[in-house]
């Protein structure tokens, strides 16, 4: 019985070995493309193989830095049955079953961890233009010690052919475009920004097919050619960009509480004030010290339980505890905005919150 089992194992081993084809030894992949994702590169290898009826075993030398679960394998011409990874080396056995003899394809996609990828947007706004011109650039660095031979790189749907020496960085111009819509606006939001400065933004709407997580650098034309204005990051998740560029030098905001009365106080058994209403008045003085018309959005933090009594400008309710108003201020103009609110059933503080 033992002899019979031994013979069977030998037969199985010989037949299996006969079918196994080593992809690396026999030939190179037919195609290698390197695809850029949001923050890393993926290599796609296409191997053309002669599939035999029955089980076909191929061996693939996986790059050292790639984990088994990071490899995506697709097969044409047969059915991918299983993969066996040998922990003693980087060899992976790919087992494919085919119904007939045919030319098949194996697609292997895996991340290239030694290639660093950073997108960069540079926006340049000419003073007389309505929208800035954008350039999408990408910095690719070979962080490995081995050179990368000339390869096909697919970045944002465009093909680039180049190689990279060890530790070399290449900056490529991926796309040049115009923002669809653009607006310069300043914002005052101490609660959100943690200061009482006026920050200025470029609010842009850009095409959805060039969105990547990236640094954004903003420039504007001047008599000295070009001036760097500021920079920010985008997650690349929305075509609407709110780029916080810098602090506005020309807009000042002064806020003052002019009235703060408590009404209808309720006291508990201990005589402590536990509930009350309020009548409050707040004034914002917004000044534009520049020779140009400016647009500014001012955010007003409130307790949720408030009622608006009067307001000298139209308001938007941003959240249940925040309102905002937008002003367009002429050169050297000062605007006074008066807001009156009633706090209802407050247990502490006043309806107008301080930041």
């Amino acid at each position: 019985m033992k002899k019979l089992l031994l013979v069977l194992i030998i037969i199985l081993f010989i037949s299996g070995s006969a079918l196994a084809q080593d992809l690396i030894v026999e030939k190179n992949p037919e195609e290698i493309f390197i695809f850029a994702g949001d923050s890393s590169f993926y290599q796609k290898e296409t191997w053309v193989v002669e599939l035999q009826p029955g089980e076909n075993i191929y061996s693939w030398e996986k790059p050292f830095s790639v984990q088994e679960e990071e490899v995506f394998i697709q097969v044409e011409g047969g059915e991918l049955v299983s993969l066996i990874s040998d922990s003693s080396n980087e060899s992976t056995k790919i087992i494919i079953v085919a119904e007939e003899q045919t030319k098949g394809k194996i697609y292997l996609i895996f991340p290239l961890l030694y290639l660093d990828l950073n997108y960069l947007y540079q926006y340049f706004w000419e003073p007389d233009k309505n929208v800035p011109a954008g350039t999408l650039l990408v910095d690719i660095t070979n962080e490995g010690q081995e050179p990368i031979p000339e390869s096909h790189f697919i970045i944002s749907g465009k093909e680039f052919i180049f190689g990279l020496k060890p530790y070399e960085t290449k900056r490529l111009v991926v796309d040049e475009f115009q923002a669809v819509r653009a607006e310069k606006i300043s914002r005052y939001n101490p609660l959100s920004y943690g200061d009482t400065d006026v920050h200025f933004f470029w609010d842009l709407f850009v095409s959805g097919d060039i969105l990547f997580p990236a640094k954004i650098e903003c420039f504007e034309g001047s008599t000295s050619g070009v001036v760097f204005l500021g920079e920010s990051y985008t997650l690349g998740e929305s075509p609407e960009l709110e780029i916080k560029v810098g602090k506005s030098n020309d807009i000042t905001i002064e806020e003052k509480i002019e009235k703060q009365d408590k009404l209808n106080q309720v006291y508990n058994r201990e005589g402590k004030e536990v509930l009350y209403d309020t009548q409050e008045k707040k004034v914002y003085k917004v000044a534009n010290r520049s020779p140009e018309r400016k647009k500014i959005e001012v955010f007003v933090p409130l307790q949720e339980s408030y009622e608006l009594i009067s307001h000298s400008v139209p308001l938007s309710r941003v959240e249940s505890n925040q309102i905002s108003f937008v002003l367009e201020i002429e050169p050297q103009e000062e605007v006074e905005v008066v807001l009156e609110v009633a706090g209802k059933n407050l247990t502490s503080g006043f309806a107008f919150r301080s930041w």
Binding site: K170, F219, G225, G230, S248, E270
Partner: protein, 392 residues
């Protein structure tokens, strides 16, 4: 000496083994047509803009740049002619960059090459003469531009930017490194004065001030330049806040924006009042300079009365609070020979109500009063308010 040089592709192909596609010109460095240096404040950097003209062949052209960490220093390469476009910038093993530019036709084309360079800063400094009799303030601004690096810039346009861009620091720490601070102390100061005034240009939300001439800016040097003197009307006010007196000079900036900095104020007879922080002011903005104690004016602040007008009880008949009244008396003594404008600001408890003199105003939780005290006289002012206080 320039911070980068443009060398031909032919040169490169010999030394770095680049592909032979490059269109060689001559093996020589290319000097920029014009250079601008815009110095930013507090980020230890200047924005360098260089206009260069290159002779290009039709198709792909390769050039070589040298510089430190240019890609991270916001390198902005801007073709000025639509017939040319930037293709790639690649690092080389020799601390340089290979630039590929494509030209649709052979010809001579201009480009703007911009990037940040570390080792620069600027600060504003003011001297002033206060003419107390005519209530005039003669403001003499100056700007110190510092180059902490050893490199000399020849024949360059110099500007400085007033504004706070969002600047994301990566590897280098914010501010000037210690060895650079040492360099500043050893810097050789130079003073520049021109017939033409400093010109101001608004760029987006910032102000860029331009020197009206080109200069050489030596390494490890400090360049002091003088924008125009301004004559401002000034009002002296004595501000009494919680009983503490301070003399404040109030004025309105009628001219271009003035950056913050330090100011040394002299009297007309050249005696020094002192050095103070100058807050900076936008166009048409009022500014205040607190200038210390008042020698010929005295304030006495006395809490003369405190009364519990009404007690609040809980159900166990324990006292839990009072409705109280407080009276504060201010005696203002002007020993000077001129009348003094005075502002009194007194913080109030939350929910306090002013019950006395109607001239007092409630503003942002404080009582506020403006008055004038005549020369060599005394004025008595009373503040009265009522407020709720918890007990115990």
């Amino acid at each position: 000496m320039k911070k980068y040089s443009l060398i031909l592709a032919f040169f490169l192909s010999i030394f770095f083994g680049f592909s032979p596609i490059s269109h060689a010109l001559l093996s020589q460095s290319v000097s920029p047509d014009e250079s601008w240096l815009t110095i930013y404040q507090n980020i230890d950097r200047a924005w360098v803009v260089e206009k260069v003209t290159l002779s290009l062949e039709e198709g792909e052209n390769r050039f070589f740049l040298t510089g430190d960490n240019l890609l991270r220093e916001r390198l902005y390469f801007h073709p000025l002619d639509p017939l040319t476009s930037l293709k790639t910038i690649a690092t080389t093993s020799a601390n340089g960059y290979q630039v590929e530019i494509e030209a649709q036709e052979a010809g001579s084309y201009s480009f703007l090459l911009s990037f940040f360079m570390s080792g620069f800063n600027w600060k504003g400094r003011y001297m002033a003469i206060w003419d107390e009799r005519d209530s005039l303030f003669y403001l003499y601004p100056s700007v110190f531009l510092s180059n902490h690096k050893s490199m000399t810039w020849e024949n360059v346009h110099i500007s400085w930017l007033l504004g706070e861009p969002v600047f994301l620091f990566e590897e280098t720490a914010r501010g000037i490194a210690d060895e650079m601070k040492l360099a500043v102390e050893e810097a050789r100061p130079r003073v520049m004065k021109s017939e033409k005034p400093v010109a101001m240009e608004r760029v987006s939300e910032y102000q860029v001030f331009h020197l009206p001439y080109m200069v050489d800016f030596p390494g490890n040097s400090l360049l002091q330049v003088f924008p125009e003197m301004q004559k401002l009307s000034v009002k002296e006010v004595i501000r009494i806040e919680e009983g503490n007196e301070v003399r404040v000079l109030k004025m309105k900036n009628q001219g271009e924006p003035l950056p913050g900095g330090w100011i040394t104020i002299f009297r007309e007879n050249q005696s020094v009042i002192g050095s103070f922080e100058f807050p900076g002011a936008r166009t048409q903005e009022e500014l205040e300079i607190p200038v210390g104690a008042v020698k010929d004016f005295r304030t006495e602040r006395v809490e003369v009365s405190y009364k519990r007008l009404k007690a609040d009880w809980n159900k166990d008949k324990d006292v839990v609070g009072f409705w109280s009244q407080k009276v504060i008396r201010f005696n203002l003594l002007n020993h000077g020979e001129s009348s003094k404008a005075v502002e009194i600001i007194e913080p109030l408890p939350q929910g306090a109500e002013l019950t006395g003199d109607e001239n007092w105003k409630w503003e942002d939780g404080k009582a506020y009063l403006e008055l004038t005290v005549e020369p060599d006289s005394e004025e008595e002012i009373v503040l009265q308010y009522e407020f709720r206080e918890d007990w115990p």
